[in-house]
Amino acid sequence: MGAISEYIIPFLFLLLFAFAAGKRVNAFDTFIDGSKKSLQIAASIFPFFVTIFFAVQLFRISGAAEHLGKFLSPAFSVLGIPKEIIELVILRPFSGSGSIALANEIFKNYGPDSYAGRCASILMGSTDTVFYVITIYFSGTSVKKLRYAIPLGLLICIIGAVVACFVCRIFY
C-alpha cells in the first residue's frame, strides 16, 4: 500500500501539468492567480481563529474542560464511552492539535491497543474539529445567523464518539 501511494501523487500531478501544457494553458499565470485567493481566505479566517482560540484556551487551561469531563462521565459511560477518553470527546470538536496531543497522552497512559486507546483512535479517525470547520467555512460569507450549525455539530460529535466506541466493541 505504501509503495504504490508514493507514486500516485507525483504521477497524478505530472498528468495534470502535462495536460495543461498540452492545452497550452499559461500555468504560471494561472497558478499565481489561484494562489492570490489564499491570502483573502487567510485574512478572513484569522479574526475568527483568534476569537475562538481565546475562548478555547481559557476553557482548557482553567481546567474547565477536565471538570466538565468528570461531570459528564456517568452519562457518557451509559452511552458506552470509556471514561478515559471523555476529555478527548469534549476537546475533539474544539481543537485539532489539542486532541492529537490528548490522544497521544491516552496512548502513553493506557497503551494504543487498549480498549480506550482503540476507541480514541477510531474517534480521531472518524470525526473532525467541528468548530474549526464551521468557523472556516462560514468565515468567507456574510452569514451571521448560523441556525442549527453549532448544536448539530456538537450532537454529531457526541454521536461520533458513541459510534466510535460501538464500532470498537464490534471489531475487537
Binding site: 500555468a27 489561484g34 481565546f54 481559557l58 487551561i61 502513553k108 477510531i122 480521531m124 464551521i134
Partner: protein, 200 residues
C-alpha cells in the same frame, strides 16, 4: 455562538481565579500565538492548492470531475448554480482522495458562492459544513504514525473500523441535516400562514 463563547470565557475566568490566576494572561495571549501559527499553516497549504485548483479549472478537468459527482450533488443539495457545483465536486473529490487540505479552500469557495446575502445560513451551506465536519478520511496517516510511536502491535488495524465509523457518521449527519431543513421549512410555512390568516 455568542452564548457558547461567553459561557466558555466566563467559566474559564471564574475557574482560573479559583485555582491558578497567574495562568490567565498567558492563556489569553497564547490564543494569539495559536491563531497566527494556524493561519500561517493554512496559508502555506492553501497557497499551493489554490494554485493547483486554478490550473485544474483552466484545463477544464473540473468539468469532468463535476460530471462524475453531479448525481450525488443533486441528491444532497438543492438548486445550486454551475459555479457552486464545480466547487462542491472539487471539495468532495479532494476529501475522498484524502487531500483534506485541498478540500478546505474548495469548500470555502463553495460557501462563498452559496451566499445569498441574507446573513442566514442556507440549507445547502449547512449540508456542506456538516458533511465536512464529519471528517471522512480514507487513511488517517497522523493517527497511524502516533500509534506506531506509542508501540502499537498493529498501528494500521484501525483503518477499517475508522472507515466504518466515518460512513455511519456521514449517513447520520446527512439524514439529520435533511430532517432539520425539512422541519425548519415547515416551521417557516406555518408561521407565514399564521401571518396571513391573522393580520395584526
Amino acid at each position: 455562538m455568542n452564548v457558547l463563547w461567553l459561557l466558555m470565557v466566563l467559566v474559564g475566568y471564574v475557574l482560573l481565579l479559583a485555582t491558578n490566576p497567574s495562568l490567565a494572561l498567558s492563556a489569553m495571549t497564547e490564543a494569539g500565538d495559536m491563531s497566527v501559527e494556524l493561519t500561517l499553516n493554512l496559508l502555506a497549504i492553501n497557497s499551493i492548492w489554490m494554485g493547483i485548483m486554478a490550473i485544474v479549472e483552466k484545463t477544464g478537468l473540473n468539468e469532468k470531475i463535476c460530471k462524475i459527482f453531479r448525481p450525488l450533488i443533486r441528491r444532497l443539495y438543492k438548486d445550486t448554480s454551475e459555479e457552486t457545483d464545480r466547487y462542491l465536486a472539487m471539495n468532495m473529490s479532494a476529501n475522498l482522495l484524502g487531500l483534506g487540505s485541498a478540500a478546505t479552500p474548495m469548500g470555502i469557495m463553495a460557501m462563498k458562492s452559496m451566499d445569498d446575502g441574507s446573513g442566514k445560513a442556507t440549507d445547502n451551506m449547512l449540508m456542506l459544513v456538516i458533511l465536512n465536519a464529519t471528517g471522512l478520511q480514507l487513511i488517517p496517516t497522523t493517527l497511524i504514525s502516533l500509534r506506531a510511536q506509542a508501540g502499537s502491535a498493529n498501528p494500521a488495524d484501525i483503518i477499517l473500523p475508522a472507515l466504518v465509523s466515518s460512513v455511519i457518521n456521514i449517513l447520520i449527519g446527512v439524514t439529520l441535516v435533511k430532517l432539520l431543513n425539512k422541519l425548519s421549512k415547515k416551521h417557516k410555512e406555518k408561521s407565514k400562514a399564521a401571518l396571513f390568516s391573522n393580520p395584526q
